[in-house]
Subunit: 170 residues, 2 copies
């Protein structure tokens, strides 16, 4: 199920790209500079939109890297505009395009650790379900919530994207 879940996360990044585009259009329609958006936040001590997008991107990129053993280039978190954030999102979509089911064959039993865990580690299976998955959706949904709270016209369909629904039985 790693492959299917990464495929879903890649789809969600595509939706995030669209929400950012909708936000930029919204700003132009209201005659304010879209550069306002990346600094908006829901609480003074919560990360702003730009950081939510960056962490969302890094969460899935690092998860794919840790669970496959394939390297991932660090990205410096310097994005300041909507367009730069979209470029960041698209870079991770491209990165995920380079994976296939075989890359995740041994994912569940890999040893995963992060520098700030001070030597502690998780199995790949635990790391994916307990850390990567909830964190990814946390930052994705928080980005959506910041836009929604600030008047961008988004709805559940924009969140979910296309679903593989099949036609009624004849």
């Amino acid at each position: 199920m790693y492959t299917e879940t990464f495929s879903q996360m890649k789809k969600q990044l595509g939706q995030l790209d669209k929400w950012l585009g909708t936000a930029a259009e919204h700003a132009r329609g209201k005659s304010f500079d879209p550069i306002v958006f990346p600094a908006l936040r829901l609480a003074p001590d919560q990360f702003p939109l730009a950081r939510q997008v960056q962490i969302c991107c890094d969460t899935v990129k690092l998860a794919a890297s840790y669970l496959s053993g394939k390297p991932a280039e660090p990205q410096p978190d310097t994005e300041q505009s909507i367009e730069e954030l979209q470029t960041r999102v698209r870079s991770v979509i491209s990165y995920l395009d380079g994976f296939s089911a075989e890359d995740f064959a041994g994912a569940a039993t890999r040893v995963v650790s992060q520098p700030r865990w001070k030597g502690e580690w998780m199995t790949g299976a635990d790391y994916f379900v307990q850390h990567a998955l909830p964190n990814f959706f946390f930052h994705l949904t928080t980005a959506y919530a910041i836009l929604r709270h600030n008047g961008v016209a988004l709805g559940k369909r924009d969140y979910l994207g296309a679903q593989t629904k099949r036609p009624p039985a004849a």
Copy 2:
């Protein structure tokens, strides 16, 4: 991975229960009535906290039911207080406690449909990853965001809960 993911969603419901408790404490500390919280929302045309919690609960309950074939009692969405929302959350945790790995043995190939899909259907595998999982985390994180936006002291650790980290190698 159905079992592991439902286990994670159950853990997240336990965290949601705690956030609601923290919100009630916050209200009492500030001398306002906690009944204010369930009606709060991030945008005038987005569901308030109570509905976010109800949909979050129903999403995982119905997913477990659809993917196992085990029945689930409908719940009428009448909760108005923090305590009633906590009771709803706990009822779903109890419901999930009744499942084991065998219940999800045939989940991936089940035919899943909902009344409003007008006969369209999804495979269990597609439904879980494309619909249930992203919807669950959407409503969970939106509930968190509403509380966070309104001053409740929550952080990422409260969101994630305990993780199965293992000690450094000797």
